[in-house]
């Protein structure tokens, strides 16, 4: 068995090495060499190369190598929120603290960072019931592409970025009024 004490240094080492990795220059493969585009397609040159668009956005070490939260919050991009005029666009700023009983750092789930991009119905009620503590979350399910892993590992930053979710130290008190979730 790996105890909490012996696991932590390993985790820290990994996080440091990931951070070091993130410092290296960002590179994107050209479409013709990415393994999924047909290089003989005459229209290929009309498509935008990932490097042309993504190199201008705030850097990150994984996924698209773009910190999409910063890109949006800092106004570097302003993607449309709706195309139908009658659509209700809703953003809420409520943090929920998850993984309160585990050994790894606590997970602060930010509704704001999510609802800037997503609609409530993308998560509630299919993926998560909208009641703090009502869901049975598991890292294992996420690694299989469920729960948080529906998006994280597919389109949003991947699950290798442990510290972006496990973002709250366990040995300090949570803020006053913190909502304790699952």
């Amino acid at each position: 068995m790996v105890s909490t004490i012996s696991r932590l240094p390993v985790l820290i080492l990994l996080l440091v090495s990931m951070a070091a990795w993130a410092q290296t220059a960002r590179q994107w493969l050209p479409l013709a060499k990415d393994g999924i585009h047909d290089p003989r397609n005459p229209a290929l040159r009309l498509l935008q190369e990932p490097a042309a668009a993504l190199s201008r956005l705030p850097a990150d070490g994984a996924g698209n190598q773009v910190n999409w939260v910063h890109a949006l919050e800092r106004g570097v991009i302003n993607p449309r929120t709706n195309i139908l005029p009658e659509t209700q666009v809703m953003v809420i700023d409520v943090d929920i603290y998850l993984n309160l009983r585990g050994g790894t750092p606590i997970v602060r789930f930010p509704h704001r960072a999510h609802t800037m991009w997503l609609d409530c119905t993308n998560c509630h009620q299919q993926l998560f019931a909208s009641k703090a503590g009502a869901n049975k979350l598991s890292m294992e399910a996420m690694l299989k592409g469920e729960q948080c892993g529906v998006c994280h590992g597919a389109v949003a930053f991947p699950l290798t970025e442990c510290a972006r979710c496990h973002n709250t130290p366990r040995n300090q008190p949570l803020p006053v009024g913190a909502i304790r979730g699952s």
């Binding site: 090495s17 449309r80 299989k144 590992g153």
Partner: protein, 140 residues
């Protein structure tokens, strides 16, 4: 290769401690592997294309999310968040559904630009592809 050895299923049924060390080992391996692949979040749609004599479709998330938030496609337009879960046909698109909600010559160029969408290599399976430092979504 590495991801093949550590099929996700092997994570199930192990003790907690073992499970955690496997998780940690996997992180180490993905860091070393750094596979050269499609851009993170690219989706291939090939349920009908190749059978009907055209190249598979490549849908780039990175390109669209610069212009539209997820909620536009996954809530307003009703795209299900599961690769392969949407039954998209060319007739739907020309009738203004799915990609055709935007690729109609108004919000974006129209459905006559076949090669811009049908740009994939032959033989590709439908699904979500690629990723910097990941062996692909679902396998993070």
């Amino acid at each position: 290769m590495t991801s093949g050895l550590f099929k996700r299923r092997t994570l199930i049924g192990m003790g907690n401690g073992v499970k955690r060390s496997v998780v940690l080992a996997l992180v180490g391996l993905t860091l070393l592997a750094a596979p050269a692949e499609a851009e993170y979040g690219d989706v291939v749609l090939n349920k009908l294309s190749e059978k009907n004599g055209v190249r598979p479709v490549v849908f780039p998330h990175w390109f669209h999310r610069v212009r539209f938030r997820c909620k536009v496609c996954h809530s307003e337009l009703g795209f299900k968040m599961r690769a392969g879960a949407n039954h998209v046909t060319m007739a739907d698109i020309t009738n203004g559904k799915f990609c055709g909600m935007c690729h109609n010559g108004q919000i974006a160029w129209g459905a006559n630009q076949c090669d811009l969408c049908h740009s994939g290599k032959r033989g590709l399976k439908s699904g979500i592809y690629g990723g910097h430092q990941t062996s692909g979504p679902g396998q993070w």
